[in-house]
Subunit: 157 residues, 2 copies
DNA sequence: GCAGTAAACTTCAAGCTTAAAGTTTCATGC
DNA sequence: GCATGAAACTTTAAGCTTGAAGTTTACTGC
């Protein structure tokens, strides 16, 4: 009985430590990516994220689709897309049957620009994660996926 | 030769996938923590972070110390501390030998409030990371620490 | 038809964040 | 002493973010 409680307490402490490490590593990587995007492409992380989502969904996404995929608020997407449109990287089309909605798509210019950014991004990440041994990569990814999925499921309930 | 290149390419792709999972999990957890802090304590993540840092450094931190520890910009800390002071959770003391600097410390009220928040926080995290097997926790934490440390070292160069 | 409700957004206020520029104070060299 | 530069901040402009409130359009029941 005591043994079980002690083990649980230790695991709980270790889980908190794990979270703090995850957070620290994430922020370090994000800061680096943000800085690189700014310096090399005069862009930002949210803009990159929106373009990545649109590249995944080649036939376009509605505003609500974007905010669902990126898990950010509706109002947030409005502003980011607005600026991407100004820069001609993205376009807003009318949805035939629904005058409330609009479909956001990459422009040719956007695709060309994003291709460059994505290639550089992949390179940055590879360098930053070089310290993680190859055989650890998949197990870690799976473990974290379990965490994310549990929270996603909760949201849908 | 071909074998080596193929293996490296695969590892590179896996590392990118790993990063995307890390990011997804981090955002999911952060969103949950943010929401809980708001709902249960009418507070925010940055405020929690500042109080956590001050709790670690019981004899106070200078503004520059806070921005170094939290890895955020100087101007950022100014605003957050400002609001914490307004709420009486934190106090700014004068530094004897240096009229430019100020030392930020928790107040008694701040300590009491943070104790509640930290206890709840630990509970939230334990629940959210329940899906990670106990024997995986430490190896994952160590692997991510390597990533963060590499970037930290780079900053110091 | 038409009332009521839901969906798809946009707008708003408040706070967070950064990089860059500005202010005051301190330390160093001479 | 005093100039010069660095340190410790604060301020500013621009963008990101959220939750809440507001607007327009679509759908559903009757």
């Amino acid at each position: 009985m005591t043994k079980t409680i002690a083990a649980d307490t230790q695991t709980s402490k270790d889980r908190l430590r794990l979270w703090l490490r995850v957070l620290k590593a994430t922020r370090a990587v994000e800061n680096e990516v943000r800085e690189n995007l700014r310096r090399e492409f005069s862009s930002t992380l949210p803009r990159f994220d929106v373009m990545a989502a649109l590249t995944q969904h080649n036939d376009g996404l509605k505003m609500s689709g974007l905010s669902t995929v990126l898990k950010v608020s509706n109002g947030n997407v409005t502003g980011i897309v607005e600026r991407l449109v100004e820069d001609g990287l993205v376009i807003r089309e009318k949805v035939p049957g629904d005058r409330r909605a609009s479909l956001v798509k990459m422009t040719a210019k956007g695709r060309a620009e994003f291709a460059k950014q994505a290639a550089a991004h992949e390179q940055w990440i590879d360098t930053m994660f070089a310290g993680v041994a190859a055989e650890q990569v998949v197990p870690i990814a799976d473990a974290l996926d379990a965490v994310a999925r549990q929270l996603d499921d909760k949201d849908e309930r």
